[in-house]
């Protein structure tokens, strides 16, 4: 692997890792102040537990040889082959680094849909099983030369043997997957107490803006870091193969990464504006929550498409994704399901827009660029398959947990606030009020006991 490329992958892995704390703020700012810590803990918890399982069997299931069959175009890799990363090529560690961050954030994305009401313990059991059942297999199918890749025998080849499905950085594996899982969990777990009646407005919108900013920043690692030297299928560095730092490689690297960076930015900017325009027309005002949401919708939509579009095409895709997502988030009130922080409305919807949009806007063979319907059809097929896979497995798992550990905290605890009930904490203590600067320790809490510490 070229050292310049390696430096960028190391940077990218770190950027994607930062996205999950960023998500914790994007989501945390939208909850009520009594739930913000729990919301953030769902993200941090995912960082902890997914890392462990990814190292143990996640990499193996994603990029190991197929568990069954002739080892080609399968559903998932053999979890035991590279268990604990033992015996992998040293050159592959950098691929593990990059890929495990994707698994973390995909799981964390789901949490926004079930804010304020879920037992932390159940979440911490759900996450490792879910990534094992739904994420690792889809990663294998799409990026590990599996069933949704371009390998022969793969789904796409059943229809058009010459069309390769495109998912540059995770429209199906990450966003459709997480969005679908979110939808299923909402239906299984049910709405927050008081949903549609009580006011549940964001308690700290600057935090949501901060989260949006960190997500945007980290997303460059997500998309641009997904560059794969044409020479190898699969993920960058996976094979640890080495590329001569030839003029040729450098030119490909510079050209493709530059384009992906610009496209990612173009779609994000356009989606932000798209969302704000819809709000301006519908509600009379463009909101900061709308801008932050539009940013994320744009990033989601461009994720699968960032390598296939032109900058102007990316502007178009983003604008459409932002506008559609802005309309989609309203639906939950009509349909009466409590996708608390709009994971479905943003990630599933924009993920579909992006994945399918490639069929229209791909400069190589998109419908609008004189390509046939082949690419479009293939994109629709993999999107549907991803929804099906994620939906079914999440449903099974969600029901299993519902009837064993149970998902919901008690109603009165939900009113009291999940932060205290599940974590024994309160997010804020602004000792004395605004404008009264000589803040004493808040007089409203008393008598510290430290037996706890001695236990």
């Amino acid at each position: 692997m070229d050292t310049g490329h390696a430096a960028w992958v190391l940077t990218s892995a770190s950027l994607v890792l930062l996205m999950t704390p960023g998500l914790a703020f994007f989501y945390g700012g939208m909850t009520r102040s009594k739930s913000v810590l729990n919301m953030m803990m769902m993200s941090f918890g995912a960082m902890g537990i997914v890392t462990v399982v990814y190292i143990l069997w996640g990499w193996s299931m994603s990029y190991g040889t197929d568990a069954f069959g002739d080892g080609k175009a399968g559903l998932f890799g053999n979890p035991f082959e590279l268990f604990g990363l033992t015996g992998i090529d040293a050159g592959a560690y950098i691929g593990v680094a990059f890929q495990l961050t994707f698994a973390i954030i995909t799981a964390a994305l789901i949490s926004g849909a079930i804010a304020d009401r879920v037992k932390f313990s159940t979440w911490m059991v759900f996450v490792p099983i879910w990534v094992t059942l739904s994420y690792f297999p889809l990663a294998h199918m799409v990026w590990g030369g599996g069933f949704l890749s371009g390998a022969d025998g793969a789904l796409a080849t059943w229809f058009f043997d010459d069309v390769v499905p495109v998912d540059y950085a995770g429209g199906t594996v990450v966003h459709i997957n997480a969005g679908m899982a979110a939808l299923v969990l909402v239906l299984v777990i049910g709405a927050r107490r008081g949903f549609g009646k009580d006011v549940m407005r964001p308690h700290n919108l600057p935090f949501t803006m901060l989260g949006a900013g960190l997500l945007w920043f980290g997303w460059y690692g997500f998309n641009v870091g997904s560059f794969v030297p044409a020479a190898t299928p699969g993920v960058a560095g996976e094979s640890g193969a080495f590329y001569e730092n030839s003029v040729q490689f450098a030119t490909n690297f510079v050209g493709e990464t530059g384009l992906v960076w610009v496209n990612t930015t173009a779609a994000t900017a356009a989606a932000m504006l798209g969302w704000l325009v819809v709000e301006k027309i519908r509600d009379g005002k463009g909101t900061s929550l709308g801008a932050a949401s539009g940013v994320v919708a744009g990033l989601v939509a461009i994720t699968p498409a960032c390598g296939s579009l032109s900058p102007v095409g990316s502007l178009a895709l983003g604008a459409v994704a932002g506008a559609i997502a802005a309309l989609a988030v309203g639906l939950k009130y009509r349909l009466g399901y409590d996708d608390s922080l709009d994971v479905v409305g943003v990630h599933l919807v924009a993920g579909l827009v992006g994945t399918v949009g490639i069929g229209f806007l791909a400069t190589s063979d998109g419908l609008f660029y004189g390509g046939g319907v082949g690419q479009l059809a293939v994109q629709v097929v993999i999107a549907l398959f991803a929804m099906l896979w994620s939906g079914v497995l999440t449903l099974v798992l969600a029901l299993a947990l519902k009837y064993t550990m149970g998902w919901r905290i008690a109603d009165e605890d939900e009113v009291e606030g999940i932060d205290f009930v599940e974590h024994g904490e309160t997010a804020y203590d602004f000792a004395s009020r605004s404008g009264a600067p000589r803040g004493p320790a808040s007089p409203l809490a008393t008598s510290v006991k430290t037996e706890g510490a001695n236990a």
Binding site: F420, G424, E425, L444, T446, S447, V448, K449, E451, G452
Partner: protein, 112 residues
């Protein structure tokens, strides 16, 4: 006139407001306060150190009313704020000698 002061549980505020509105109370002044009483606060743990929180959040409502309405209003508040569990709060009544509407300078009954 009388000043009716009520200290209630925060999540009952909506019901109390609606009940008072129905009765015809057009105005009141509300503040977030902390209550100390039989209902105990909870315990938090930070890095193994336990903190008892002695107070619990309450909503404090002040309403200046005609002498005639005082009892009814107290009754309405008690009814609508009641959960039957410890910590439901208190209502008390204090005599008011004068009241003025700032906007108009109207005094007493006319001020409400």
């Amino acid at each position: 006139m009388k000043l009716v002061t009520a200290v209630i549980k925060p999540h009952k505020w909506e019901e109390v407001r609606e009940a008072l509105e129905t009765f015809g109370v057009t105005g009141m002044t509300v503040s977030e306060v902390s209550g100390y009483g039989r209902q105990k606060g909870h315990t938090e743990v930070y890095r193994g150190a336990e903190y008892d929180v002695a107070l619990v959040p309450k909503i404090r409502i002040e309403i200046v009313v005609d002498d005639a309405d005082a009892d009814d209003i107290v009754g309405i508040i008690v009814k609508s704020a009641q959960t039957g569990r410890i910590g439901d709060g208190k209502v008390w009544v204090v005599p008011v000698e004068a009241a003025v509407r700032v906007r108009t300078g109207d005094r007493d009954e006319a001020a409400l």
